[in-house]
Symmetry: C2
Subunit: 425 residues, 2 copies
């Protein structure tokens, strides 16, 4: 059964107990795989496909025919759902597009910032039960909107060498440009360093298991990465008027992801707290992934009874959850007080799952309290900015003495000279 | 003497040879320091001040009196320069401020993104010859504009327990809220985990030596960090009409930073190439830091003779330099072709040093080719975004079947249930 706390009896460690752990054994395995891919390229990828995916591939790359066949085999209603989800994601993310700016209000001076898309992006898609077409859309669509030219997807093949149809269809709907049949740390290494078939990219995005996450951390700096996602989290703030069965269902929608997932309810109603506690017991056995959900709820789940909704918000800001539901009658009144949260679901009829698949905002969100300083995946993650400066010689002459003095005080006479030399006769 | 290449004779490795190196010995030292600070807090910081800075401190924090005394002791002209630089930085960075957005064009649906400042930021300022007041301005001003409430600066004290006057004055001008006397990995650990005196922050920014950089990398995830800056770089694209002594001075303004710094000239003029080569030999001995500059120029410096300015730009895009000067008559004609560069200096009279101190754009820039995917430090680095979703029950009912189908196809029945339960009778 889920644990129940009262806010005035909680220790700091009851609220915040998420620490990132390293695993030395995994580090060593991943380091070897990366070195192998750097040394042996495609052949290493083919060998790992045999070893880990039990697939004997003729080609590392999915053909256009394979992609089209998968797309045509799928229920047209689901293709329609994918397209509607893509369109919603596009509408939301287009609002994130940034323009260049120029400042030209002083005689002879132009300053500005230009925004340029990252040229090539790698998109990792896990295999097995974590093979999610929604992830393909959520990662590829913002990259497309940013203007990324090449989006290279990698995902592990089935033993017969095929790829999951829904993943191929989502890739086609999202506009992925190439699809590589490779998974694990080896796929990340290929994207970071390039092989005969796999282009070296500038940034790698997408979720993955511990081997993928470790590989991404190791190649960070050679290429950029999106983030290292921790276990999924949901925090529900609910008042006494909420339906306990809805609240329980929403908590379970994250608990079913992973035994390490965290589901927390904070409420100002002891009655609701106890009803949700009971309702969880009713709903857990009904889930396909009931064992995972039970472990998550019993080990990491928490119901906190707070003095008020305001206190609930304060506790939530310290936890900085990935998903935050605000189940009260006027959720917009609370929105301004939310300081730290990845995605916020407003009102009693906005289950977090709506955002995972369909509404439009991204489902790749900061976990483990990183919403204190990190943001949902966005168009910003697929562009970079360059600043630029233009001064006429006259404009430079008016400030040259100050720049020369500043540089000289910092002991950098070369910096000073590069300015003063332009005014020597 | 600087090496001279012809573009058609260059190997790929002549152009790009920057790889990040780890240092296991430093890693171990830094890990011990971090553990010590976590265990012993202020006392560990005081002990390290004795050991490394030879300072026996009464208090880890600079008093308001110390700050005001330093400010009042400095040449008022330099205070004026600091204020003018701050104002220019403010004008530029204010253009980066992002607004919230809301999308409300479908009945019963509100989507949006809100932008919130990071609450607490730590700013590391190195000691010794790398103690730069310009860095204080470049890091603190964007944080202020973002709305960061607390900016905690740490910097190592002099042996008498004082701090450099220019650093204190710059901190006052920039609006730093607290100043801690501590340097090295121990200061980074204190900011990441907090001590009795030092508040635990959400993000750490600012340059530092290998111990500071290693500590930042280790605490990344617990807190955010800005970037791990590599050695400084300048790439100058110049045509035959340029003054070789200006070009040489500009190359040296980065070469004097660090023996590992890289200065590259790409020109379409063999005559200019040779004149700059000679001019470097004239100017190097005139520098205060001539030995550093000479090592940098001889080991990492490069002059590349290209077929055309267009080819020079293509090579530059592959190198993705930190600082890029475009010394041609119409630099704005070239600007659009620049894909990868931290900061771009347009025209023959815009030495890179102008941007280091005064013009307004940030001087904290992506190094080591990371301009392919990274950006100059900006207001964006001191905020985070949260998305939000509101649907009425009617709006949800219109899409519920698609969301339930999508979730079920991904094997996540708990996700499906959290939607469907709201429509069960």
């Amino acid at each position: 059964m889920i644990k129940l706390f009262y806010s005035n009896e909680m220790k700091e460690s009851d609220i915040l107990n998420r620490e990132i752990q390293n695993n030395d054994e995994v580090e060593d395995i991943v380091a070897d795989i990366i070195n192998d891919v750097r040394a042996n390229g495609d052949q290493a990828l083919l060998d790992y496909c045999k070893k880990f995916d039990h697939a004997d591939l003729d080609s590392l790359e999915a053909s256009q025919e394979e992609i089209d066949d998968a797309y045509n085999s799928i229920d047209p209603e689901f293709i329609q759902t994918l397209k509607m989800a893509r369109d919603n994601i596009e509408v939301f993310h287009r609002q994130q597009v940034r323009k260049n700016f120029v400042i030209n209000d002083k005689e002879g001076i132009v300053l500005g910032q230009k925004v340029t898309p990252i040229e090539k992006v790698g998109l990792y898609v896990p295999g097995g039960t974590a093979s999610y077409p929604s992830s393909v859309l959520m990662n590829a669509v913002p990259a497309k909107i940013a203007g990324v030219k090449e989006i290279v997807m990698t995902t592990p093949p089935n033993p017969d060498g095929s790829l999951p149809q829904a993943i191929l269809a989502a890739a086609k709907v999202a506009g992925v440009t190439r699809i590589i049949k490779s998974g694990g740390a080896q796929a990340v290494a290929a994207l970071a360093y390039g092989t005969e078939t796999v282009p070296k990219v500038d940034k790698i995005v997408g979720p993955g298991n511990i081997f993928v996450a470790t590989a991404k951390r190791r190649v960070y700096g050679i290429v950029d990465i999106d983030m290292i996602a921790g276990p999924s989290e949901i925090l529900v703030i609910a008042d006494g008027s909420c339906n306990p069965s809805y609240v329980a269902a929403d908590l379970l929608s994250q608990a079913e992801h992973d035994k390490l997932a965290t589901a927390v309810l904070i409420t100002d109603s002891k009655v609701l707290a106890e009803k949700v506690q009971q309702e969880l017991e009713v709903q857990i056995p009904q889930l396909l992934r009931s064992e995972i959900a039970r472990t998550s709820i019993e080990q990491n789940g928490k119901i906190i009874v707070a003095d008020s909704i305001q206190q609930a918000v304060e506790i939530s800001n310290r936890i900085a959850p990935e998903h935050l539901e605000i189940c009260v009658d006027d959720p917009f009144a609370v929105l301004n007080s939310i300081q730290n949260a990845g995605s916020i679901f407003l009102g009693k009829n906005v289950p977090e799952a709506l955002g995972d698949y369909f509404a439009g905002p991204n489902h790749t969100l900061p976990t483990s309290g990183t919403a204190r300083f990190s943001s949902p995946l966005s168009v910003d993650d697929f562009v970079k900015k360059s600043s630029f400066i233009y001064y006429t010689k006259d404009a430079l002459s008016q400030v040259q003495e100050r720049v020369v003095d500043f540089a000289t005080r910092e002991g950098l006479t070369g910096h000073a000279k590069s300015v003063s030399i332009r005014f020597e006769s």
